[in-house]
């Protein structure tokens, strides 16, 4: 599936509902990041890959990103553009959608919430054999190669020799 589709869909839903703009983060190992706060998180990841997440808005300068699809809770550290972390998607994570939540250090409402879509295998994976040939080289059955001709020729010579030998024996007996 087009990896952008869930991002676009969620962005449209968020806009329609009057929600704040989403935090958009691509997955895999070379993700793009963006920031807004408070925010909707939209992530796409592959099993065993990494997702990067950036949020703004925690006064204490510390936060933790959590998801059942992460290998572990991901502490966020302060950077020039808010709080940042790189989380690893569990290698055994099944394809599907997992909630993601960022909590500021201490109490209070979540700094960001959203979902992580794990792709790569499962329903978005290829399921059918590939159609990758036009048949142009399958026109005729292959002619016998040199080894086949040598074997056939030797066989014929031997058979001829056998017949000649038997005839000679028969003639000798008469």
């Amino acid at each position: 599936m087009d990896p952008l589709r869930p991002v676009l869909c969620t962005a449209l839903v968020a806009l329609a509902a009057g929600a704040p703009p989403p935090v958009v983060a691509h997955a895999g190992d070379s993700p793009a990041t963006a920031a807004a706060a408070p925010a909707v998180i939209v992530l796409t990841g592959t099993p065993g890959g990494h997702v990067r997440l950036r949020v703004a808005g925690c006064a204490g300068g510390k936060a933790v990103a959590r998801s059942a699809a992460f290998v572990a809770d991901a502490p966020m550290t302060k950077g020039p553009a808010g709080l940042f972390t790189e989380a690893t998607v569990r290698p055994a994570a099944a394809p599907g959608t997992y909630p993601v939540r960022v909590d500021c250090d201490g109490s209070g409402p979540a700094a960001a919430e959203g979902r992580l879509t794990v792709v790569g295998r499962g329903r978005h994976s290829p399921v059918a054999p590939v159609p990758a040939g036009g048949g142009g080289t399958a026109a005729a059955p292959a002619p016998p190669g040199t080894p086949g001709l040598i074997v056939a020729g030797t066989g014929v010579l031997l058979a001829a020799g056998l017949i000649w030998h038997r005839r000679r024996l028969d003639a000798g007996r008469r």
Binding site: D29, T46, P47, P91, S125, P126, P129, G134, G136
Partner: protein
């Protein structure tokens, strides 16, 4: 010499030629895989394969090189077709290879999939010799970050479309490895359906990154 003894000699000679012929014929099987779930190069070989290298960060694939069968190709991004198969490049670009962009890029964890045509309706195409690839052969993917990911072939199999196991063909064999599948058509060509009845599936895994530009 008695007639019986001469007959025995002739019979032994004919059997010898027959056996010799069978050896000659079977020696050629791996080069042109036929239909059936044959693992032509799948059985264990005497020489061990190199260890797997830890996966690389993801980077967009740009080019493919398989020196042992003379393949050098540009890589295009493709999705699935309506049947759920990875869509190969159009026939007018039969020298290019399609990367399934819904899966991992070559070098990243998981099984990256590259698909190419075996032929067009009149000529051989980029993966015409894929079935002749040998276990241990090198496969190189040039990437947008300037690195070349080098893979080693561990398996070449022919999978009939009637007994197609998508998980086996497209899914990773082992966790924590960067794997690569090269897939094309093979087996017999069915003129009525205008399709081959099997896929040739080459499985390789990451054994080394090469940095720089020219690696032959």
């Amino acid at each position: 010499m008695s007639a019986r003894r001469a007959g025995v000699v002739w019979a032994v000679l004919l059997v010898a030629v027959c056996l010799w012929g069978r050896d000659l014929a079977e020696g050629d099987v791996a080069a042109t895989p036929t239909a059936g779930d044959v693992a032509a190069a799948g059985r264990p070989e005497a020489h061990p394969l190199p260890p797997a290298r830890p996966p690389l960060p993801g980077a967009h694939p740009e080019s493919l090189a398989v020196p042992s069968i003379g393949v050098e190709a540009r890589i295009e991004d493709h999705d699935l077709d309506r049947s759920g198969a990875v869509e190969p490049p159009p026939y007018r670009r039969a020298g290019s290879v399609a990367w399934y962009r819904g899966g991992p890029p070559p070098g990243a964890p998981g099984a990256a999939v590259l698909v190419g045509h075996v032929d067009t309706d009149h000529a051989p195409a980029v993966f015409y010799d894929l079935g002749a690839l040998k276990r241990g052969a090198a496969v190189r993917v040039g990437r947008a970050d300037g690195t070349t990911a080098e893979f080693t072939v561990e398996d070449v199999s022919v999978v009939t479309k009637g007994r197609f196991d998508a998980d086996r063909v497209y899914g990773p064999r082992e966790q924590h490895r960067a794997e690569l599948r090269l897939i094309t058509c093979g087996g017999a060509y069915d003129r009525a359906h205008r399709a081959y009845d099997a896929n040739i599936v080459v499985s390789a895994y990451l054994t080394g990154p090469l940095t720089g530009v020219d690696h032959g």
